[in-house]
Amino acid sequence: MQEECLLTMRQIDKRFPGVVALNGVDFTLRKGEIHALMGENGAGKSTLIKVLTGVYQMDGGEIRVEGKPIFIKSPQDAQNHGISTVYQEITLCPNLTVAENMFIGREDSVWVRRGKYEKRAEEILMDLGVPARSTQQLGDCSLAVQQMVAIARAVDMKCKVLILDEPTSSLDDKEVQMLFSLMKDLKSQGVGIIFVTHFLEQVYEVSDRITVLRNGELVGEYLTEELPQVQLVSKMIGKELEELSNLGETEEKNSEEQEVFYEAEGLSSSAARPFDFSIRKGEVNGFTGLLGSGRSESVRAIFGADKVNGGTVKIKGQEVKITRPIDAMKNGIGYLAEDRKRDGIIADLSVRENIILAMQVMNGMFKPISRSESEAFADEYIKVLNIKTASRETPVGSLSGGNQQKVILARWLLTHPDYLILDEPTRGIDVGTKLEIQKLVLKLAEEGVSVTFISSEVEEMLRTCSRLIVMRDRYIVGELKGSDLNQTQVMKTIAGGEA
């Protein structure tokens, strides 16, 4: 038994100022297994991975590779010990060829023998069944192939432990299957694979074992076949599952008789094609469609986030001009952007400053919110939204993804909007927070706030929205409500009758 263990991590501790990220966590990886590492955001998955790859130094504990204790001082060090990582975002160079990417940084002499490398790369790619040529530019390959090239590079570096951090988040189904067959191949060669993902189905498809973390502590290690999916979820969020399914019953979907709050006709922007759209007071509707279908571009046009080209917009029947975000805000519209890091948080500023930002902008530069007032606002929303932060003065960048999202939600809630646009508010955040956000959306609607909710997970939209606008190739192709609101109908409309 002991010999099988490729990697053992014992009693790993990691503290950040004010936060215990890992508290005595154990993790064991055996030879030739695919081991899923599961947990909510902020559970400590990424911290554990970063300790293992030398990005962070652990504060306590022991790591052994094949029984020998090792000390990992840097990512380079981790590679020397046979631990390789393929990150969510591809960290290779798109403007170099596949072969160059595979050998970059480890040429054995200054004279690069292109031919030799290309031949070697071709062999490895063939071996692993990666559909790419070694002389191809990496940027020309699909994301899945780029991912596989990154794995091929790791494999060629004689890695024993391969860490795949959310490798499937930007792949389509076919590409996921390609990746999985590659993973199974490597597994049969004795490589141990740590698989981090948010997709439960994928865990059950490929993994042999599951380790669950919660709040920086180990919940347990399980054989995949012995742990039903329902139990896995409840272990991850630490709640019983009944709580999860209760959500749908309280919602009321009767806003038909309410007045129309926002109405656009032929609205178009530099990124969105002309479209008509309206929303009633207290209504929750959604835009759905595949990535790139134009759903985000449409809501950005509503908020004036991109250059507006034309169309008429009415709010409560009055014609208004919304060409910049500030116009939209003054008309009671709030917008939570799709890309939290790029368009949402001001990372170095504190939670407090991030929360009051939009309100301060609406007040104008000459009416600053006083320190004590802003502290009160921050404390209130930290409590209401249950934001996990060391203090209100903690830089928001050091919070976990879900909590960052809550801070931005707080920012908009503080402005008491009449109409709130939420673009992918639940992406990349844990199940528990997802549920809280869904509940919040329904509560807001009850209070009379109109909400547009966008999510890649159709199921989540079905639960919250009373009307779904379906987009394809940048056009609105359908609108579903009432009895048409079900998964099959949505899929059919998205696919356009071909399904």
Binding site: R324, M329, I346
Partner: protein, 360 residues
């Protein structure tokens, strides 16, 4: 006290720690070298006023223009993530305008001086607007954008007074550059205090700090939250323009003449350095004006110390460079982080020991 100590060290070094320690070290060094270095005396100047004198006064007085420019530069740095290298040249222009207006009137009264200053201010702000437009509207790197004025600024200053270096004779100007009768503190020092207070008032009664920091940290997000980042960047340049005019006028008043070639020569680099020593990121974002002011005094103390040690003016720059390398390296994120960890361990360790002591 203990809490304060912990806050200072456990979370990494605070922004103000490095400049304050640097200043303290310089002071201690000077005290050891020459105990009378910091003695302050009272003497009578040419006009018969009782005024303070001594090295420390020379330092604080001499750093005035630098400190004022550093305040404005901090704001530009924070909003734009880059620096204005034309402040010296622009100050020469502002100074030339100041003198031109003064020379135009036959008798220099208080009103004339105010008018001249306002003219200098408007001209400096126009040039700042030019710089700001290149940066905020055309998105040109600040250093490249301001390189234009850096190159041609002193030529423009030369044209304003027709190539001459006119002298201004006026007791008001002497008072601005030296001492106001009855007040023993040099007037430029008082102006620095007034400027610092103005900045304080500005940040207290507006949300400029929050907006500037937001624009500097994440321009995209700031825009989507309704902040007009172009305006914020322009505003930072305009405020720097005022600082430029003030320091240009002080420089002129000290000598009573405008020399467009030498007025505040090479001050732009010292200004940027003051901002950096003050612990502000030159990449923009969070900022502390107070840090930059201390940074200015650190640079000036260093310069005067070297002169007091009889280092020749040609060699001073080399010695200055050495000290600055040390300071910048010590203030770098890498060293800060390591030092922070080290101190955290010390604080943490001693806490553990004390807890054990209680248990036993």
């Amino acid at each position: 006290m203990k809490e304060k100590f912990k806050r200072l060290f456990s979370g990494g070094l605070g922004q103000m720690t490095i400049p304050i320690i640097a200043l303290a070290l310089l002071v201690i060094f000077n005290l050891i070298r020459d105990t009378s270095f910091f003695s302050i005396g009272i003497m009578h100047n040419n006009d018969g006023n009782a005024v303070l004198s001594g090295n420390i006064i020379t330092i604080i007085n001499g750093a005035s223009e630098l400190a004022i420019l550093a305040m404005g530069m901090t704001l530009v740095t924070a909003a734009c993530g880059g620096q204005d290298i034309s402040v010296g040249a622009a100050a020469a222009i502002a100074g030339s305008v100041f003198v031109k207006v003064l020379k135009a009137s036959t008798a220099i009264s208080g009103g004339t001086v105010v008018l001249a200053f306002l003219c200098a201010c408007i001209v400096a702000m126009l040039f700042a607007l030019f710089n700001g437009t290149l940066v905020a509207v055309f998105k040109i790197q600040p250093m490249i954008a301001t390189l234009i004025l850096y190159t041609c600024g002193r030529s423009i200053a030369y044209w304003i007074n027709g190539g001459a270096t006119p002298t201004v004779y006026s007791s008001i100007i002497t008072a601005i550059g030296g001492f106001i009768p009855g007040i023993p503190v040099p007037t430029p020092v008082l102006i620095v205090v007034v400027m610092a207070l103005l900045f304080r008032v500005l940040f207290h009664f507006t949300s400029l700090r929050l907006f500037t920091q937001s624009v500097g940290i994440n321009g995209d997000a700031a825009r989507l939250n309704g902040i007009n980042s172009t305006f914020i960047k322009l505003l930072s340049f305009l405020i720097l323009g005022v600082c430029v005019a003030v320091s240009g006028c002080i420089g002129v008043s000290r000598l009573g003449l405008i020399n467009h070639e030498t007025l505040l020569l090479d001050i732009e680099m010292d200004t940027i350095l003051a901002v950096a020593i003050g612990g502000n990121s030159l990449g923009g974002g969070k900022f502390k004006i107070g840090g930059s002011i201390i940074g200015a005094y650190v640079i000036q103390t260093l310069t005067i110390t070297l002169y007091a040690m009889k280092v020749s003016s040609t060699d001073v720059k080399a010695y200055k460079a050495i000290v600055i390398i040390l300071m910048v390296v010590i203030g770098s994120p890498v060293v800060k982080e390591r030092f922070g960890k080290f101190m955290a361990r010390l604080v943490h360790g001693s806490k553990r020991v004390s807890v054990k002591g209680v248990e036993e």
